[in-house]
Symmetry: C2
Subunit: 125 residues, 2 copies
């Protein structure tokens, strides 16, 4: 455990805000499971997002270097393909390690839940 | 699996934004593990937050009914104690169940990482 983590165990500094946002977390998880990339329409459906919302979040992810957007014509029709970059993969895996720590901490904390342990009684401190 | 989850498996609708915000996630995890409540100063230190930041996030959590703030004088000194409410506990546990799903999905997705599986090669789609 680092000094920082020892001093502020619940600060979760590594929880990258670009990735942590709920919609972007869904987008990146989808793209992680499709390393060859996904057409815009498929990604939209998997994440339950509107065109506008998905575009906005993809822009944030692209500017952060986490995804790349490929626009080309296939059989005379425009096709937008979204792919996670190698840097994106690395940052997502780093984020995931912290998220796993959060889940471990929170599950541990839930054991202190008085509803799960009737012997613990709320008292003024 | 619900119809909604089947249709948009990465939408993570249940990921309550009030709880998901990084600093508030730390605050609630701290309070879950201290069901009797925590003095403001201890909470601030555990979460690595400034006075102003902690106050702002506590206000959001209090307005959402997730925490209660108790201000009183103890030995002639003001003491602010923060406690998670029963509703807060329930909502946190619901949130935690979704977060565990995210971690499962993301860990599964990471297995598709071409760096972890050299046989998978990026190809234009």
């Amino acid at each position: 455990m680092s000094d920082k983590r020892a001093a502020a165990p619940f600060s979760y500094d590594g929880l990258d805000r670009v990735i942590h946002e709920k919609a972007r977390l869904g987008v990146l998880t989808s793209l992680m499971s499709h390393p060859k990339g996904l057409p815009f329409g498929d990604l939209k459906q998997l994440c339950g997002l509107t065109d506008g919302n998905l575009s906005r979040h993809l822009q944030v992810l692209q500017e952060a270097g986490l995804v790349e957007i490929d626009k080309r014509f296939v059989r005379n029709r425009p096709l937008t393909t979204c792919r996670i970059t190698s840097a994106g993969r690395r940052r997502f895996l780093d984020y995931l390690a912290i998220l796993e720590q959060v889940v471990r901490d929170a599950s541990e904390a839930a054991k202190s839940d008085p509803a799960m342990n009737p012997k613990t009684k709320l008292q003024p401190v």
